[in-house]
């Protein structure tokens, strides 16, 4: 009996020795997608280092991630429909399912129990048990009479285990209530031509879907859904010819700072500013290229912008008090994503073609560290676990 206990102890010790990260919290951890090699780097934002790498996540072009609310697991959504639950502490894949043919991202429910993927093929959303990754609900994005299915974009979690998203092909916003996953309830709101992505405001109230096929943004006030989706920032181009759009902008993440929302203009070298009280366009800020990500530092004092090809070597910083560009940086070739540390003293930027993640101090704009990474794209920190819309 005694030797069994000893043996068991040895086995346990063996297991914990396999935990490369040891006993620690996860509040300063995150992942960097290394998209060409189908793997993620687990990073530490305090030590500014790569702690471990996890392989075998499939096609990670256009991959994104959400976190379990204990900040231990990352759920990574791959292009090939793979949904992988990565254990940050054990630095290994906990579970993995192939849930669709072509996927574009996902979200996690308010209570942390459901992970929801948004899919291009077959078009729709699917909900999974966050613990087991078992399918909990399948909600096709069917539209029209012929039963066609639309590509889904812009999926965002709303309070009450509801999810808002947009249908690229159908020009609609939908809200699906998954409070009882066995009986999903979906409401539909006509939105405009070709919504390409969406975001929810930090309070979980307004869902915005950017439109590609026309100037403007569709906005649904989820506190007053009976009013339907209305068009804001309409005609911001005023009939001017658009530039070719070599990359779709992203609306993921908060671009809301104070009372203002900062949004990319499609086909224009501009960031649009709207007042969140009445959603009127208050300013157009000229920038270096066509914005892809427009992201507010957590305190809202700065907004950082990166750009589509061929201007993807630049990053600009807007001071939200003056509404002017105060910094123009060249972090490296092919800047794909930016992520702020939990309280925003630093920002991590992926420079895909330099195989590097570059870290800047957001006060001095000094480059404080550079980490090697293989074609890095998305960077996601565990602070997202506690935020609506991430």
């Amino acid at each position: 009996m005694r030797w069994i206990a000893v043996l068991f102890g040895v086995l346990l010790a063996g297991c914990s020795a396999q935990a490369p990260l040891g006993l620690r919290g996860t509040g300063d951890l995150g992942i960097v997608i290394e998209r060409a090699s189908g793997r993620v780097a687990i990073v530490d934002t305090s030590a500014r280092s790569v702690l471990a790498r996890v392989e075998g996540l499939g096609d990670l072009s256009h991959a994104s991630a959400v976190f379990s609310r204990d900040g231990r697991y990352a759920y990574v959504f791959g292009r090939d429909g793979g949904l992988t639950k990565v254990d940050l502490l054990l630095a290994r894949i906990d579970r993995r399912v192939i849930q669709a043919g072509n996927s574009i991202g996902g979200a996690i429910s308010q209570d942390g129990r459901l992970v929801v993927a948004q899919n291009y093929e077959p078009g729709g959303i699917k909900a999974f048990d966050a613990a087991t990754l078992e399918l909990a609900a399948d909600v096709p994005a069917a539209y029209g009479d012929a039963g066609k299915r639309s590509k889904v974009v812009g999926l965002a979690d709303l309070p009450g285990n509801r999810f808002a998203y947009a249908l690229f092909d159908a020009g609609e916003i939908r809200v699906t209530d998954l409070s009882d996953p066995a009986r999903p309830k979906t409401a539909t709101y006509p939105a405009g031509t070709q919504p390409y992505d969406g975001l929810v405001t930090p309070d979980g109230r307004h869902f915005l879907a950017g439109l590609f096929g026309e100037d403007g943004v569709a906005m649904l006030d989820t506190w007053q859904p009976e009013l339907g989706a209305r068009k804001i920032l309409a005609d911001y181009g005023r009939g001017q010819e658009k530039l070719p759009v070599f990359k779709m902008p992203h609306l993921r993440g908060w671009a809301v700072a104070g009372r203002k929302a900062y949004l990319p203009a499609i086909g224009r070298h501009e960031v649009l500013v709207a007042d969140t009280a009445d959603w009127r366009l208050t300013r157009r800020i000229p920038v270096k290229g066509q914005p892809v990500f427009v992201m507010a530092r957590p305190d809202g004092r700065q907004v950082w912008v990166n750009f589509a090809f061929p201007d993807n070597g630049w990053v600009q910083v807007i001071d939200t008090q003056t509404g002017e560009v105060v910094q123009t940086l060249q972090p490296g070739r092919a800047v794909l994503h930016m992520e702020f540390t939990p309280r925003g003293e630093a920002v991590w930027i992926s420079a895909r073609d330099d195989n590097a993640v570059v870290i800047y101090d957001t006060t001095s704009f000094a480059r404080v560290a550079t980490l090697p990474a293989d074609s890095p794209s998305g960077i996601f920190f565990t602070t997202r676990a506690a935020r609506t819309g991430f």
Partner: protein, 104 residues
């Protein structure tokens, strides 16, 4: 051997050749930047798949025109400010015969 095969394929396909460096640039551009809409494996995304199977019955010259001039009313942008006609022809021929991997 591989490069000989490659060369003869390219010649057979219409004699369009790009120099080695430009080829590498184009492979990267297609995988990474076309890939942002068509997927890095070109199996589709917002834009449809660009695999040989998916493109089989489509005339090459139409595809070259799509690459250079885009498709108005859709998200497919015109690349003529970035790519020459030769570049576009080379890309389409490679798409039709199976697009090379980066570094491969």
């Amino acid at each position: 051997m591989k490069s000989v095969l490659f060369l003869s394929l390219a010649l057979a396909a219409g004699g369009v050749l790009a120099s080695g460096d430009r080829e590498r640039e184009l492979v990267r551009l297609v995988r990474q930047d076309c890939g942002s809409c068509h997927g890095m494996l070109l199996t589709g995304g917002l834009g449809q798949p660009l695999t040989p199977e998916a493109l089989r019955d489509k005339p090459a010259e139409n595809l070259v025109a799509t690459v250079l001039y885009g498709r108005p009313g859709t998200a497919m942008p015109p690349w003529k400010s970035i790519l020459t006609e030769r570049d576009a022809q080379w890309i389409v021929e490679r798409l039709l015969s199976g697009f090379p991997k980066e570094g491969g």
